[in-house]
């Protein structure tokens, strides 16, 4: 849809984007999101140019202040002369495909400070987000933005995975978000390299910190890695912030940078990037296989006498043997 008239070629766009033309960056991101041939050409062109940027994921439940925090953090980064970019993901309506992308509202100071912010809708399709976000991050990395912050709502496995695929994963909670039992339920909290207790000016902030601390103690007792994976370098720090006032944001920035330094000093950074590579290959493969499955599903006959399990087995045997996924 966008700008169909004066379409520039991906290579031309990338040259302009790397030269600092933001309109070209934005256009590349649109093409990556759209998928298809142009997106593949952009992936091929940008992949060798990546690796410089520190990728930071920020996730947490709705309403915890992720956008305000991301805005405050990137404003500070810009003030230090760095070139941060933000990818802010909000859900698409499964019914209409439309979305209200409301993260920029909370990032006004960052906009003023020259931070590049791109809002993305999840666009529904199975794994679509897991395909598009790595490509978008790749473009921003190749265009010299550093760090690149990926903000997602911590609801749904794909959204959490996308943020957790960062070099540094930040999980945001607020006072009153739950107690130590909630903290030990599997999922969101397990991916954290850093915890933020935002809205720390509200009652219960120290309780939230205590519950997180207790959860981390138990993780150590049970031998579970607290960070994103087995390479967890150290116990995740817990930072208290009041993002609307800028309180604690400097501390968070220091903790994010410290985590990055620790990763770079050891095998951690490369391990995460290797894992991210495999995760993206996996997402692409799943996408191809799901499409292949859709193609053969038309042959399913509910009255053939086969059970659903048998029918699935039969189809899987057929298309995995004879029809190698493109």
């Amino acid at each position: 849809m966008a700008g169909t008239g004066e379409e520039r070629k991906p290579a031309e766009l990338l040259a302009a984007a790397r030269g600092g033309q933001r309109r070209a960056v934005a256009r590349l991101l649109t093409l990556v999101e759209r998928g298809g041939g142009a997106a593949e050409a952009i992936a091929a062109a940008t992949h060798p140019l990546t690796g410089a940027a520190h990728i930071v994921g920020i996730t947490g439940a709705p309403g915890t202040g992720k956008s305000t925090l991301t805005g405050a953090l990137t404003t500070l980064l810009a003030a230090e002369g760095r070139r941060p970019a933000v990818v802010a993901v909000d859900p698409s309506s499964p019914l209409t495909g439309g979305a209200i992308l409301g993260d920029r509202v909370r990032m006004e100071a960052a906009t003023g400070a020259g931070v590049f912010i791109r809002s993305m809708a999840t666009r529904g399709h199975a794994g679509g987000l897991a395909l598009a976000v790595p490509g978008v991050v790749r473009v921003l990395d190749a265009c010299g933005f550093d760090p690149v912050l990926v903000e997602t709502v911590g609801v749904g496995q794909i959204e959490v995975d996308v943020a957790a695929a960062a070099d540094t994963a930040v999980v945001v909670v607020t006072p009153g978000w739950g107690d130590a039992i909630q903290a030990n339920k599997a999922g969101l909290l397990e991916v954290a390299d850093l915890f933020v207790v935002n809205k720390a000016d509200r009652p219960g902030a120290s309780d939230a910190r205590r519950d997180l601390d207790l959860m981390l103690d138990l993780s150590e007792v049970s031998g579970a890695a607290a960070g994103t994976g087995a390479d967890a370098e150290s116990r995740p720090a817990i930072i208290e912030t009041t993002a609307t006032e800028g309180e604690g944001v400097q501390d968070l920035l220091r903790a994010v940078d410290a985590h990055h330094r620790a990763l770079k000093a050891g095998p951690g950074l490369q391990a995460r990037r290797d894992r991210r590579f495999v995760a993206e290959v996996r997402a692409r493969l799943e996408h191809v296989l799901i499409q292949a499955a859709d193609d053969v599903l038309v042959d399913v006959d509910s009255r053939s006498g086969a059970t659903p399990v048998e029918a699935a087995r039969h189809l899987a045997d057929r298309f995995l043997d004879t029809d190698t996924p493109r």
Binding site: R23, R34, G36, S93, R104, T111, H125
Partner: protein, 140 residues
């Protein structure tokens, strides 16, 4: 290998209030109407400047920008946002003005480069149709 939903990019709309004008209820309604029509709405909200709107249109690669005005400033401010977009090389992104705009001002706004005016009493269907029309006609 195909990417996700190839070729099915939804219309991307930036919605904002420009300048000193605290009436954002209408804008929120329009945001919801456009979302329910399958569009992606980048919502900027209150007290935006021409600079913040141009930044958002550029970074979000928006197809159209909607400005809501309830402070009688439309004849002054609408030409400013049109000019700011042109100056940024984004002159092909149409501007839609909504809110309280008297009928007799519509001609002047259109002459100033505004793509469509959505006045009081416009139905949801007409809002969506106006946005689609200016997006479809952006290269015409």
């Amino acid at each position: 290998m195909d990417g996700p939903e190839e070729g099915a990019t939804p219309i991307r709309v930036v919605l904002a209030k420009l300048g000193l004008d605290g009436h954002d209820r209408g804008l929120k309604v329009v945001a919801r109407i456009l979302r329910d029509a399958g569009m992606e709405v980048v919502y900027l909200g209150l007290r935006q400047t021409t600079a913040t709107i141009v930044d958002a249109v550029e970074q979000e690669d928006a197809d159209v920008v909607g400005i809501s005005m309830h402070n009688a400033g439309h004849l002054t401010l609408a030409p400013l946002i049109v000019a700011a977009l042109v100056a940024a090389g984004l002159g092909n992104v149409p501007v839609v003005i909504g809110g309280v705009v008297p009928d007799e001002d519509v001609g002047e706004l259109e002459a100033a480069g505004v793509g469509a005016v959505i006045g009081p009493g416009t139905s949801a269907t007409e809002v969506v149709a106006s946005v689609r029309r200016v997006v479809d006609g952006r290269h015409g």
